[in-house]
C-alpha cells in the first residue's frame, strides 16, 4: 500500500539517531544522522512519516525496534551494540525543496515516497535522483545532508527500556540541531486529522494483510 500522494509538504518526518556505544567521541560529526544508499539513479535514505506515527511515543517505539532489529541480526560486542538515542525532525518540504536549490543543480528530483518496509507502516523513502552525467554522488550526498541538517529540529532524546541501565547513555552525546532544539508540532486540528488518518490506514492495512494471508493460504491449498 502506497500513500505517497498523501505526504504533504508540511508533514513532519523523523530521523532516528542510533549509535554504536563506542562511537561517542568528539571526532564523530552529528551529521552521521543521515545515511543514503546509492541506487541506479542517485541515492536513497529513510525517515518516519508523522501521519502514520502521529505521536512521539510511536516515533520512539520505531527507533527502539530498529535498534533491536539491528542488534539481533549481528553478533555485536557490547561496545558495538546499537543504541537508540532520540529523533530529529524536519519537514517533507525541506527534502523536496532540494530539487532546484542553488548549489544542488545536479538534483533532478527529490521525492518522499511512502514505502512499508519490514512491516513498518510509517516508513518513507527519501529519494534523490541526479543528472545522468553527474559523477560526484558522494559530494551530492554531503550537500543534501548539509541542507537537511540545517533544517532539523531536536533532538528529542529517548531511552528504550532495554537500555535503561546504561550509564552514561549515548544520547547524552547527541548534538543540538541548528534550526531549533525543540520539535515542532502540528496545530491541534491537523493533529486530529492525522490521528484519524492513522487509525483508518492502520485498520485498512491490517485488513489488507489478513486478506493477503488468506489469499496466499487459499492458493496453497488449491494448487493450479
Amino acid at each position: 500500500m502506497n500513500l505517497s500522494c498523501f505526504v504533504a509538504d508540511q508533514d513532519y518526518l523523523y530521523r532516528h539517531a542510533i549509535r554504536p556505544t563506542a562511537f561517542r567521541g568528539k571526532a564523530f560529526d552529528p551529521r552521521k544522522l543521515f545515511y543514503f544508499r546509492n541506487d541506479q539513479h542517485g541515492f536513497e535514505g529513510s525517515a518516519i512519516w508523522d501521519t502514520l506515527a502521529p505521536n512521539l511515543d510511536l516515533v520512539h517505539a520505531y527507533g527502539c525496534r530498529l535498534a533491536a532489529q539491528r542488534n539481533s541480526s549481528t553478533v555485536a560486542k557490547p561496545k558495538d551494540l546499537q543504541v537508540y538515542c532520540g529523533v530529529y525532525q524536519f519537514r517533507a518540504s525541506d527534502f523536496r525543496d532540494l530539487k532546484g536549490l542553488p548549489g544542488l543543480e545536479e538534483v533532478a528530483d527529490a521525492e518522499v515516497t511512502h514505502r512499508i518496509e519490514t512491516g513498518e507502516i510509517s516508513h518513507v523513502a527519501l529519494k534523490i535522483i541526479v543528472a545522468a552525467d553527474w559523477d560526484d554522488l558522494e559530494g551530492t550526498k554531503t550537500a543534501v545532508v548539509d541542507r537537511l541538517w540545517q533544517a532539523c529540529r531536536g533532538p528529542d532524546k529517548y531511552i528504550c527500556k532495554s537500555d535503561e541501565a546504561m550509564d552514561p547513555h549515548p544520547n547524552s552525546f547527541l548534538s543540538d540541531a541548528p534550526h531549533s532544539t525543540t520539535l515542532a508540532s502540528s496545530p491541534m486540528i491537523l493533529h486530529l486529522i492525522k490521528r484519524l488518518r492513522f487509525v483508518i490506514f492502520l485498520t485498512l492495512y491490517r485488513l489488507y494483510r489478513k486478506l493477503s494471508a488468506a489469499a496466499a493460504a487459499t492458493s496453497i491449498s488449491q494448487p493450479g
Binding site: 563506542a22 568528539k26 571526532a27 554531503t142 550537500a143 540545517q150
Partner: protein, 208 residues
Amino acid sequence: MSTYEVTPIYIQSFYVQGTEQIDQRALAGNVQTHSYVAASGIPVVGSFAAPFNYLSGLTSNVVPVIGAGELRSDYQELGSALTEMTRVDIAEEWKVNAPVLEAAKFVASQLAAGGFPAPQIFNHGPLSIVFTWTHQADTLYLTVSADKVSALLSTPERIKRRHQSPLSEMAEQKFLLMSLHSYASQYTIPLNSTSSVELFFSSAESAT
C-alpha cells in the same frame, strides 16, 4: 603541547636516537632505556612537543623530518576514529572501504601538516568519508572518496560554494585550497602553525 617561535626559513632536524626495549632480559637491571634527541633547546620528556611546521609535501622546498609520537591530540582522536571505521565487525553504516580510508588518512595528514584544526568526521557508507569544520554558523565539508576530494562551504541559509570532482584543472585545486583558506582565515590557528598555513596557500596561489 608547548608553543614557541619557529624560525620560518628552516625546520630543524629531529631524530630518534634509539629505543632499546622489547627484550628486557638483555638490559641490565631490567630497565628499558629510551634516548631522544631534540634540536634547538626543545625540552623532551616522555612525550614529544610538536616542534615544527610540517609544510605540505606538495609545496615546500624543504622537507622536514617527522618524529614518532608527535601527533597532535586532536588528530590522535581523529586517527582513532578512522581506525574504528575499518573494523570488520562494526555496523555496515560505519564501515568504509580500504581505498577510501587510505585517501582519508592522506588528506588528514596533509591537514595536520598544514596546521588546520582537526575536523570531525562522518561517512555516507563505504564510499566516502566527510571531514567537517564548523566555525560559528558556517560549515566546511571535505568529502573524500577513493580518488577525489570535494569541498563544500555552507551557511545555515544556503550553500555558498562547492568544488566538484575536477578533471585535471588547477583552478579547481586552487578553489579547494581557497575554500580552506577562507575558512582558516576565520579560525584561530595555533601560533606554531600560522606561517605554515600562510605558506601553504600562498605557495598554492602562486603556483596557479
